[in-house]
């Protein structure tokens, strides 16, 4: 099971955090700080894995953004790289060649996407098409509501 996922920039700014294991806020901040500085200090020649407490940390850099996941001992780190890649692909499809700014300004959308791919730290959908379909359908629901609200406001319904 994945314990948490962090997205952060090369400058060490947190862009997304998803926790599947409960921790007090303080602990979360400490973990985040520690991992960001550890990972940013690693050289490109090094592998994408590190041992950290009793967890395995898997990270990968896409352009200016680091994707970092903490998995348990029995989990497959190579596959976790695939999970990260799948998430990036999904964001890319959704935003259309995604960049860091997309994720900054639409962080909630990035969260929604992650929630369709994974629930409770486990992959729950392995088809890209299905994830994007579910997101599109939910976005549509929201749009319909906006239209409806606006129409009501101007007295059309």
């Amino acid at each position: 099971m994945m314990q948490f996922m962090l997205l952060f920039s090369r400058q060490g700014k947190l862009r997304l955090q998803k926790w599947y294991e409960a921790h007090p806020d303080k602990v979360k901040k400490k973990i985040t700080r520690e991992l960001i500085s550890t990972i940013l200090a690693r050289k490109p020649k090094m592998s994408s894995f590190l041992e950290w407490k009793d967890l395995k940390i898997v990270y990968k850099r896409y352009a200016s953004l680091y994707f970092c996941c903490a998995i348990e001992q029995q989990d497959n780190e190579l596959l976790t790289l695939e999970v990260i890649h799948r998430y990036v692909e999904l964001l890319d499809k959704y935003f259309g060649s995604v960049c860091e700014l997309d994720i900054i300004f639409n962080f909630e959308k990035a969260y929604f996407m992650l929630d369709e791919l994974m629930v409770g730290g486990e992959v729950c959908e392995t088809s890209k098409k299905n994830v994007l379909k579910a997101i599109a359908a939910q976005d549509l629901l929201q749009e319909d509501e906006i239209v409806e609200m606006a129409l009501r406001d101007i007295g059309l319904i």
Binding site: K45, F49, E108, F112, E125, T126, Q142
Partner: protein
């Protein structure tokens, strides 16, 4: 149609503008807030923007503004991510969740996942909303609720909502089923009793076509099997189903929906392989069923991309964990061997990690990839190098030690400082275990000391010294080698200088007499020592080594004694108190006690059998230090030759410390019990009485000279004799002045005490000799009962703890007049709970029947704080020696 939509959209936009103008003041949009924060130039500026916005958001929350709640919570979530407190948004999230609008719910649940976790009290409130939404008619609302439950479910929530989840697990909608399966997983992790409830619904998940449901179903079963042996037994029967699913996956043609770079649904494949591993572990029947499919996956998976390797990696793990055929295991190890050659560092990393896990089970199969593993020592990635190093040490055996050690030494030389200490220690252990001959062993240790520079741990220094000390035949060679090192040494590398000076001090005569390959002139030797002693780069410890060594040389050289005396006496005014003391004391040996100098500076007897790493000794080391040995095994051990040697060396070291001048002929001392008695008896008369030594605490420096250990032994490397180690510590540790050593324990070995079982009753029977209370202070009471057989007295010591506190590290030490021999067996323990006690057998041989007196020293930790005391027992019943 589209034009109608266009018209409506325009109307909506216009309407919105009007609407926003009417409602004043409007909160800024999320997008604008993010822009504002990003344009802040300093941290203070950013803080100001955030604080202003937070104040505003709080205000609207207080006003119960439901129109902008969604936008405000979203802004708050952004602020939260920047690290600012946002707990005041928790209730607003709950309100959003309760709203009928999907937009509100979406942000509300997102906020709940970010701001709440299972520790929050607001859970009671959210549980109700979750229950409602799990029953919603909109699948996406149900989906949101499931997703949130999966992320933050607490045990209480799990109990409350378990039923809903079970119902949804049987839903006809795959979108709901897959999410419900993960929720069920979370619930059984929190409340394992609920597992039974999900069993029927779980089983049907495997007959699914939808991969989302399949993968979550497999994950759920995996967790059930991991948690409960009953479940594990129950699910054994699904092995054929899993095999079929996996087979279909790899046999089926290209399916664009689940394809990842030519591999069909790697996520699902890995999950199935993991479940197979759990089901097949320790079960030959299940393993048999999956052998074929594992072989198929192992051979058919495309290995050019990471994704294929992820599957191969999981397959290897499964093959190694189940009871698979040997051919399959070799195949698995070969896959890892191929991984090692992969250009991708991640794959090399997992290969080494996995090999480390399996090396003990399949050593010979891993051996075949030795050369590849050795190559990894040169990898650019430090974590790969570290693992390669560990694996190399696991692979060393008697056949490959020469080549492996060569590579490892090269590695050690170039390694990062953080590696050097552990690597050099491991080299020493490996050399100890597998060295083909002594010459090679010595060479290797010297190379290790040289290659690791200042990162050599103390145990390596002492192991090296000890090895040289105990191999008489190679001493000349070693000392020659060390001289070569020393003559070109850079003063910054302390360990090499320490080893070299110690050995040259001991065996300098071999160096000068031309037994070594080199010829050295005495004056050269003195020059080097002066360089060391006056170098600012050498540490105090090194100088202590050098000074003692130089002193020893004064008994080995013939011409330069005058200059040695000069150097030594110069240290009488050294700023460091330890060196100063040595300087003064050693100077005395040139003047007032010149007659003692020769015998005092005799060669040390070899320390034997206690070097780190000799396997049999490993056990005894711990025994000797603190693990109590029950009496029976101790007696058994006494008769085994190995242990004899070990006992002997202990006594040698101790005797040596006290007397320091028994005839240095190590061969006669070697492990023969009788020779011990000789050394005991032959302690020259110049030496102070042992009791005097012990009482010497208050005597001046001159009196303590004889006790100074000229035969400086490697620090802490006589682990089987904690006493000796303690003494040596005192000598080498600057913080402990030399003068304290006389008060340290004396334990003579059992030398002449017969060691047959019959005369060592395990429990002493009632004795005709009355017992005594030897000590009763500080809450510790020592009672002694006696058993007398001719000259042999067996004392059964009972120490009882009346301190009312937990006593740990209890150590009883004793010394007797030198015509008496004393042997102390291991105590029954070192820790005593309040009112508890421990026992220790002491054997005393009193051949001359002199009145028995005993000097004792006690130390313990009472609730962690150290207590020490000493005293003399002189109230032994006279029946013991009359």
């Amino acid at each position: 149609m589209s034009s109608i939509k266009q018209v409506i959209n325009d109307a909506v936009e216009k309407g919105k503008e009007v609407y926003e103008k009417v409602r004043q003041p409007n909160p800024i949009r999320l997008r604008d807030l993010i822009r504002q924060i990003r344009s802040a130039k300093t941290a203070a500026e950013e803080r100001a923007v955030v604080n202003r916005e937070c104040a505003y958001i709080r205000l609207t929350f207080r006003e119960e503004d439901s129109v902008w709640r969604c936008r405000n919570v979203a802004k708050l979530l952004y602020i939260h991510m920047l690290g600012y407190p946002a707990h005041f948004g928790q209730m607003e999230c709950l309100k959003l969740i309760a709203s009928p609008r999907f937009t509100d719910k979406r942000i509300g649940y997102l906020g709940a996942m970010l701001l709440l976790d299972e520790r929050q009290d607001v859970h009671l409130l959210i549980t109700n909303s979750l229950k409602n939404d799990l029953n919603s008619s909109t699948q996406f609302v149900q989906g949101l609720a499931l997703c949130t439950l999966g992320a933050i479910a607490s045990p209480e929530m799990s109990r409350d909502l378990a039923g809903e989840v079970e119902r949804l697990l049987k839903s006809s909608n795959a979108y709901i089923r897959k999410k419900a399966a993960v929720c069920a997983l979370r619930i059984i992790c929190r409340v394992p009793e609920l597992m039974e409830m999900y069993l029927p619904a779980t089983r049907s998940l495997l007959s699914e076509k939808n991969h989302g449901v399949l993968i979550t179903g497999v994950t759920l079963i995996t967790e059930m099997c991991r948690q409960s042996p009953d479940m594990l037994a129950h699910f054994k029967k699904i092995v054929p189903n899993l095999v079929r699913i996996l087979k279909n996956l790899i046999m089926a043609g290209y399916s664009p929906e689940h394809d990842v770079q030519g591999v069909s649904d790697p996520f699902l494949q890995v999950k199935i392989l993991k479940l197979l591993r759990i089901l097949g572990c320790g079960d030959s029947e299940a393993s048999e069923t999956m052998n074929d499919i594992l072989a198929q996956v192992a051979t058919n998976t495309e290995s050019s991309k990471n994704v294929g390797n992820a599957i191969l990696y999981e397959t290897v793990l499964s093959i190694m964990d189940i009871k698979s055929e040997s051919g399959l295991r070799v195949l698995a190890i070969n896959i890892l061997g191929r991984f090692l050659l992969n250009a991708d560092k991640n794959i090399r990393y997992v290969a080494l990690n996995t090999l480390l896990r399996v090396v003990h089970a399949d050593n010979s199969a891993v051996q075949r990839h030795r050369s590849t593993i050795l190559e990894c020592l040169k990898d650019a990635d430090i974590s790969i190098r570290r693992r390669a190093m560990e694996l190399c040490f696991a692979l060393i055996n008697g056949n490959n030690i020469r080549t492996m050690m060569k590579e490892l030494l090269t590695f050690l030389e170039k390694a990062e400082p953080e590696f050097k200490a552990s690597c050099s220690s491991k080299c020493v252990l490996a050399a100890e275990k597998y060295s083909p001959n002594v010459r090679w062993h010595i060479d290797t240790l010297l190379k290790v000391v040289e290659a690791a520079g200042n990162h050599v741990p103390d145990d390596v220094v002492s192991s090296t010294i000890q090895l040289i000390s105990e191999t008489r035949t190679e001493q000349a060679y070693a000392v020659g080698e060390l001289w070569r090192h020393l003559s070109i040494a850079q003063m910054e590398y302390q360990p090499m200088i320490q080893v070299a000076t110690w050995c040259i001090g001991e065996f300098g005569d071999l160096l000068l007499s031309g037994h070594a390959d080199v010829t050295v002139v005495e004056s050269e030797l003195i020059d080097i020592y002066q360089k060391i002693l006056w170098s600012s780069q050498c540490s105090i410890t090194t100088k202590e080594y050098a000074l003692t060594s130089l002193m020893k040389l004064s008994a080995r050289l013939t011409h330069e004694i005058g200059s040695i005396q000069q150097v030594v006496s110069a240290f009488g005014s050294h700023l460091n108190i330890e060196l100063q003391q040595r300087g003064i004391e050693y100077s005395q040996l040139f003047t007032r006690h010149n007659h003692m100098r020769g015998p005092l500076l005799e060669r040390m007897p070899p320390f034997e059998g206690t070097r780190a790493g000799t396997e049999q000794d490993k056990a005894t080391i711990t025994n000797g230090v603190d693990t109590p040995l029950d009496n029976e095994s101790l007696l058994n051990d006494l008769t085994s030759p190995n242990n004899n040697a070990h006992e002997t060396s202990e006594s040698n070291a101790l005797l040596d410390l006290l007397g320091g001048m028994e005839p240095g002929d190590s061969d006669t001392i070697k492990s023969t019990s009788t020779s011990i008695s000789l050394t005991v008896a032959s302690t020259p008369s110049v030496n102070a009485d042992i009791l005097d030594l012990l009482g010497g605490l208050d005597s001046g420096p001159a009196a303590s000279v004889p006790t100074t250990n000229m035969n400086e032994a490697p620090p802490t490397q006589l682990p089987n004799s904690s006493n000796a180690a303690y003494l040596l510590d005192g000598l080498l540790n600057n913080s402990t002045p030399i003068i304290s050593s006389p008060s340290s324990p004396v334990t003579n070995s059992a030398g002449t005490i017969p060691t047959s079982n019959s005369i060592y009753p395990l429990v002493l029977q009632k004795s005709s000799i009355p017992g005594i209370t030897a000590y009763d202070k500080n809450g510790i009471r020592l009672d002694m009962a006696f058993e007398l057989q001719e000259t042999l007295i067996t004392i059964n010591l009972i120490a009882s703890n009346n301190t009312g506190a937990q006593v740990t590290d209890f150590l009883f030490q004793a010394a007797v007049p030198k015509s008496i021999q004393l042997q102390m067996l291991n105590p029954s323990g070192t820790n005593m709970a309040p009112t508890a006690s421990l026992t220790q057998l002491i054997k005393v041989n009193n051949p001359n029947k002199v009145p028995l007196r005993m000097r004792i020293k006690l130390s313990w930790l009472a609730n962690g704080s150290p207590v020490q005391d000493q005293g003399e027992i002189s109230n032994f019943p006279s029946a013991l020696w009359q």
